[in-house]
Amino acid sequence: MKRRGARPAACFVMMTIASVVLLFPVYWMMMTAVTPVSEILSRDPPLLPHLGSLSFDAFAAVIARRPFLLWTANSMIVGGASSLISLTAAALAGYSLSRYAFPGIRFAGAVLLLGKLAPPALIIIPLFIMFSVGGLLESYGGLVLAHVATGVPLATWLMKGFFDRIPREVEQAAMIDGCTRLGALRHVILPLTRPGLASCFVYLLLVSWGEFVFGRTLMSKPDHRVLTVGLQSFSAEYQVDWPGLMAAGTLTLIPIVVMFVLLEPFLVSGMTKGALAN
């Protein structure tokens, strides 16, 4: 469909080189995880794996000797809960922003964006104080709340973008047929925007999965660490176990790659349009 069929072969070669260079870190992480320690801890590590001597010991070791599964479970609990709550609040608010242009609604939409401007390293200071006074430190609820606060603003604007693509006539027709406003939203609009809800949920999961500062500060006890915090503590040890760390990193990346592949088409079509409109 796109213009300029100029030299497809040259484009293909260029993109292959770019992918090899830009994805080398991911390759090197996996490569380190499956190469025996004696080979990889060398001044001249092999760039390609020796297929005969591949070893998955590093994966077994990191699961056996580190609370890796616990970190994963913590990330899943916090990510799942916070994404669900954020999605609910964001879908409702996004619909309101999409359909109503009262000055108050506009202003509230702008206030939501404030959440994106504040540095996490700053906002964590009052949150830490509030949570320590309120007894929310080292609790899942507290971290979920913090993730919801970061997730809601962007998710709201994402959802607004999805609702904007559904013509107003759809709910007007539903209301003429006797639906209330809420009924039209629940039974007509939300089902129509299911792909939007799904991609927004995956987006929220990705953001929560990668979050570090709040997890590090609000849930720092060894048993409470989420994945990113666990990996950072692992990497900060005196003698770093690089193959083990790279195995843990590889395992961390698997769900991320799956989520990203699901999300990517929506990112390309949806998110940029929303970002450009703002």
Binding site: G115, L117, A121, L122, E211, L245, F260, V268, L276
Partner: protein, 313 residues
């Protein structure tokens, strides 16, 4: 049929509460917005007000409930502005953002220009090239620390093979190279969003413009200057602004890479805020620097958006 239903429903509505249609609409609109707004008010706006207040409180206390009892003054700001570590952080931040955004923009523009063309496996390449965006900053940071390791790092091995350096450089551990090293994972995580934004802008440029220019025999450079660039100018500024703000705010990569060291050589302002608060417990000073950061971010956003607005005309 549907008319009958309509009339029936209207008549059945309880008439006791005489709210006009407009008022009902308003209540509905605000009610939908309320949960999201409450979350942001409680978890962002109120904390920001608290931290603004903390930035004016002089003295230290370990009892957080008593911070409000400390005397008010500009002491935190005055002390911060005379702290050499603060000014070092300003310098580090400026270099870190400028270099990261410049490299990320170059990679983002290059990849977007090619991905806008037609060639085999284009969608696969697009997915592959956008992937680093989804990698958590901490993970990116750790991988690059391993690649740039002084003893076993693959980067030193490659440089040695290429005959560029004979020495084993501990990139992240040496104060002279640490900032350059920290820029690499930052660029890696930042460029996909620029690719994505520029690509979206390029795809809104009508294909006829390129066809016409081909008829006129315009060179590739001329096409870029007169068709592509005007079409993506506003998006380019926006992409750079969003990336710069993210790099300004975030500490994930720096924290996991160096924690701000060695000797403050990678301590950005955001990292300075975190270290002041959670390493040295100088909460007032941390809050003051954080407030200055927000003001700086607001000014930079305002200027860039005004600039992007002009580009669009």
């Amino acid at each position: 049929m549907s008319d009958a239903i309509l009339v029936g429903r209207r008549a059945a509505r309880p008439r006791g509460l005489r709210l006009s249609e407009g008022v009902r609409e308003r209540i509905f609109a605000y009610a939908l917005l309320a949960p999201a707004l409450l979350i942001v008010l409680a978890m962002v706006v109120y904390p920001l007000a608290r931290v603004a207040d903390i930035s004016t409180r002089i003295g230290r206390t370990m009892n957080f409930a008593r911070i409000g009892l400390l005397p008010i003054g500009a002491g935190n700001y005055a002390r911060t502005l005379s702290d050499p570590a603060f000014w070092q952080a300003v310098e580090v931040t400026a270099i870190y953002i400028a270099a990261s955004v410049a490299f990320a923009f170059a990679i983002g523009l290059g990849t977007a220009l090619v991905l806008d063309l037609t060639f085999p496996a284009r969608r696969l390449f697009r997915t592959l090239l956008l992937l680093p965006w989804a990698v958590p900053g901490v993970v990116a940071s750790i991988v690059f620390r391993w690649m740039f390791d002084g003893s076993y790092g693959v980067v030193n091995a490659m440089l040695r093979h290429a005959g560029l350096f004979a020495a084993d450089i501990p990139w992240f551990a040496d104060a002279r190279t640490a900032l350059a090293a920290a820029i690499v994972p930052t660029v890696w995580k930042a460029y996909p969003l620029i690719t994505l934004t520029l690509l979206a802008a390029m795809q809104t440029i009508p294909g006829e413009l390129y066809e016409a220019s081909a008829v006129d025999g315009a060179s590739a450079v001329a096409r870029f200057r007169h068709i592509t660039w005007p079409g993506i100018g506003a998006a380019a500024i926006l992409a750079m602004l969003v990336s710069a703000l993210w790099i300004f705010r975030d500490i994930d990569i720096i924290y996991a890479a160096t924690g701000g060291g060695p000797a403050g050589s990678t301590q950005t302002l955001a990292m300075y805020v975190y270290n002041e608060a959670f390493q040295y417990f100088r909460i007032g000073a941390a809050a003051a620097v954080g407030m200055l950061m927000i003001v700086a971010a607001l000014i930079a956003s305002g200027v860039s958006l005004a600039f992007a607005g002009k580009q669009r005309l």
